[in-house]
Every structure is written in structure tokens, then in C-alpha cells.
Subunit: 232 residues, 2 copies
DNA sequence: GTCTATAGGCGGATAGAC
DNA sequence: GTCTATCCGCCTATAGAC
């Protein structure tokens, strides 16, 4: 019962867990989240289906693990894209994050569908997914925070009717940003995923051809809508 | 072999077809499109599963029929919302169409997921779905066309890099509108569905509370982004 | 057009041996 | 932890009687 034995056991467990999730991601691509099945994963790994239950107590637990991994993978990609232009102007960094999200989505379409597509019927994501899910939003918020600090942030117009909600959102999400900016940021965040989802899910078929250029321009407009200055 | 007999037969067929689609929509809500099964529909209707094949040759054909119905239901709703403010200013009509789309989506979440959510794995929508899918887009285009005719339409900025694509899109979608407007319209169209999808699929959970107000303001900004004047 | 019967698969989950 | 065996359910699709 040495700590080495413990470590070896724990390591083996992690390796099998990783293999299960990897096979599950392949199944996600082939069959979709709704049809993710422990049996099929077991078959692919050459394990007995009953052995899976030692790693994931149920199909939904496996799904939850995949969702958190996907959010984290996206968060990593977005943070890396941001890091690559860390010294640049906020508007440039905003665009870099958005393009990082798009690039990740194009490279991981099924994981994107898992986290931003239609909900899986009968499955409800637990609160444990929230921290990973919030990472991209935090990144965009931080960019705006820096712009504000450098006095590079304009206040978008805010109609009177939306002010109470904007103030509530600001208090929750970014108390140091003007409510005008926070409301616009949340809208831009949703709109960003509209652009990506349409490209990924085929709605741009025979409508938009030069999608990279189209996207770059669109996120530039979104940057402007939240109060960032145009890139020179 | 009177025409009456023919009519009765045809009528019965339509009625059964409608009942099948109705039951299938209930199954869509309960299990999702990926698990739509002819057998479960047959069970609900008290029919033998083999009888279904007289109406839909395969599961995918039933799915296609449901998709076309959903696009048409949405198209009807959007056109009705537009018709209710037919005499108003274009910006008002734009907003009405967008709110009509949102209202329909909130009332038919599973059908919305079917047409704008993640693709159903293994299913590829045939070209026959295109006309129904295009209806909302045509409506938005027509609103902008009228605004253009009344000289109420500004030209949004268009960076040089996007001009070729914008001109291509304009030639395809609306040759009588400026490329600047068409490019902005396509982006706004995708962004609209981003806003609706986030609300519907739970991403606004604990982020946006007063969603109707938030949405109304956001589509107002979208209207402005395509060149429509602000509502007075 | 509808039925029964059938072929040949799939799934989640558990019990109990090793 | 992994296995076999098992329970009980599900599915698409076809054949052939009525």
C-alpha cells in the first residue's frame, strides 16, 4: 500500500477515463449527443459495457464530463488567441478572441454543437458546468475592462426601458463597467454565436461564400457596438 | 371509381398523414429529432409500425416533412407579425418581423431546435426544404427594399475587403439593394438567431432576466446596423 | 392499407463470479 | 475492476396474409 501503488492505480484510472472520453467524442461526432451510449463506447474500447460504470455512474455523467471538457477546450483556445495579441489595442484583442472562438468551433463542430447547439432531450446540465462555460465571457469582459481603464471605451446608446435590466446585469457581471457597455456586450456575445452557429450548421450554404472575411467584418461591427473604437 | 371515392380516399390519407406528423411533433418535444422513431409514432396512434411506411417511406422522409412544416409555420408567423404593422415605417416592420420570429420560437422551441439547432446526425436536409427556409429572409429583404424605395435606407460602412463578397451576395439575394445593406442584412439575420437561440437554449440563464425588453432593444440595434433609421 | 410475424440489430442497467 | 450473463426494453425494415 505504498504511495507508488496508489499513484499507479490513480494514473491507470485517469488513462482509462481519458480513453473513454476520447472514444465518446468520436461517438459524439458520428451519432450525436442524444445517442451517446456507454455500450458503444465500451465496444470501441473492447471493454465490457458493465465496466464503464466504474468510471461514469451513468450516461449523463459522461455527457457532463464531455461538456465541461468542451467548454474548457474552447476557453483554452480563446485565451490562447487572446494571449497571442496581448499587447495590442482592445479592439484588436476583441477580434482575436472572437476569431479564436470561430476557429475552435470550425475545428470541433460536434463539441460546439454539444455546448451551444440544441439541448439534449432529457438531459439538464448541472451547475458544475458553469465555471467552464463562463470563461469566454470573462475574457470579453476583461478586454472591455482594459479598454475602459485606457479610456478607449465609448458608451453605446441605451434606451430608458432597458436601463434597469442593464444595471442589474452590470451589477452581476461587471460592476466596474458602465451598464450601457454590459448590455451591449451580452447582446454581442449572443450575436457572435449566431454568426458561428449559422456558418457551422449550414445556414450560410449558398448564401455566404467568403466566410472568414464575412466573419471578420461582422465581429468588427460587434466590437464597435460595445463601445470599442474602430481599428485603424 | 367515382371522383367522390377518390376524394374520400385522398382526404383520409391527408388526415392520417396529419395525425402522424402531429404525433411526431410530440415525440420531437419529448425525445428530440435524433430519436424520432416511426415505431413510437405508430404506438402512439395505435397503428402497426409497418403501416407507417405507406405514408412515409423512411424516418428521414418524415423528418423532412416536419422540417418543411416548421419553416412554413415560422414563415406564417413572421408574415402575420409583419402584416399587423403593414402600413408602418420600415424600422417598425423590421422589429415586428424579428419579434414575430422570437414569439414563434418561444412557442415552438422543439421545432425551432429542429430547423435552427444542431444538425441531426446522419440526416441531410434535401433541397426541397429551401423555399420554406427562405421565407423569413425574404420578408426582411422586402422590408429593406421598401425602405430603399422611400429613401429611408442609409448605407452601412463596408470595408474594402468585404466588397467582393458583398457584391456577390447582393447579386444573388437582392440585386436592387446596395451591397453594403445586403452584407449587413445577412449578418443581422444570423445575429438575430443568435439572440433567440441563446434565450431558448438556456445560455441567458442567470444572465438576462427581462428578455423581452433585452430582445426588443437588440433588434432595434440590428435594424440600425442594416441602415434603417432609428424609430422616433 | 392494415395487420402479424420476423429478422437482426441496438440500448441502460444490474448480479455475481473471479 | 473486469468479466459473463441476464432482464427488459427499444429500433428499422420487410414478407406475406387479409
Amino acid at each position: 500500500m505504498s504511495s507508488t501503488a496508489h499513484g499507479a492505480r490513480a494514473r491507470a484510472r485517469l488513462e482509462v477515463t481519458a480513453a473513454i472520453k476520447e472514444a465518446a467524442r468520436r461517438q459524439l461526432a458520428a451519432e450525436g449527443a442524444a445517442k451517446l451510449s456507454l455500450r458503444a463506447v465500451a465496444r470501441e474500447l473492447g471493454m465490457a459495457s458493465s465496466a464503464m460504470y466504474r468510471y461514469f455512474p451513468s450516461r449523463d455523467d459522461l455527457l457532463t464530463a464531455l461538456i465541461i471538457d468542451a467548454y474548457d477546450s474552447l476557453g483554452d483556445a480563446a485565451e490562447a488567441a487572446h494571449g497571442a495579441v496581448a499587447g495590442a489595442a482592445p479592439a484588436r484583442r476583441w477580434t482575436a478572441v472572437c476569431e479564436g472562438v470561430r476557429d475552435w468551433a470550425l475545428g470541433h463542430p460536434h463539441e460546439y454543437a454539444l455546448i451551444y447547439g440544441s439541448p439534449v432531450p432529457g438531459y439538464s446540465a448541472p451547475e458544475t458546468t458553469v465555471p467552464a462555460a463562463a470563461r469566454v465571457g470573462f475574457l470579453l469582459r476583461d478586454v472591455l475592462r482594459d479598454a475602459q481603464r485606457d479610456s478607449e471605451l465609448a458608451k453605446p446608446p441605451l434606451p430608458a426601458g432597458l436601463r434597469p435590466e442593464a444595471e442589474r446585469m452590470a451589477a452581476d457581471l461587471a460592476p466596474d463597467l458602465p451598464p450601457e457597455v454590459v448590455a451591449a456586450m451580452v447582446a454581442a456575445w449572443a450575436e457572435l454565436y449566431g454568426l458561428i452557429g449559422f456558418e457551422l450548421f449550414g445556414q450560410f450554404h449558398r448564401v455566404v461564400e467568403d466566410r472568414a472575411t464575412f466573419f471578420r467584418h461582422a465581429v468588427g461591427r460587434l466590437a464597435h457596438s460595445v463601445g470599442l473604437p474602430a481599428l485603424t
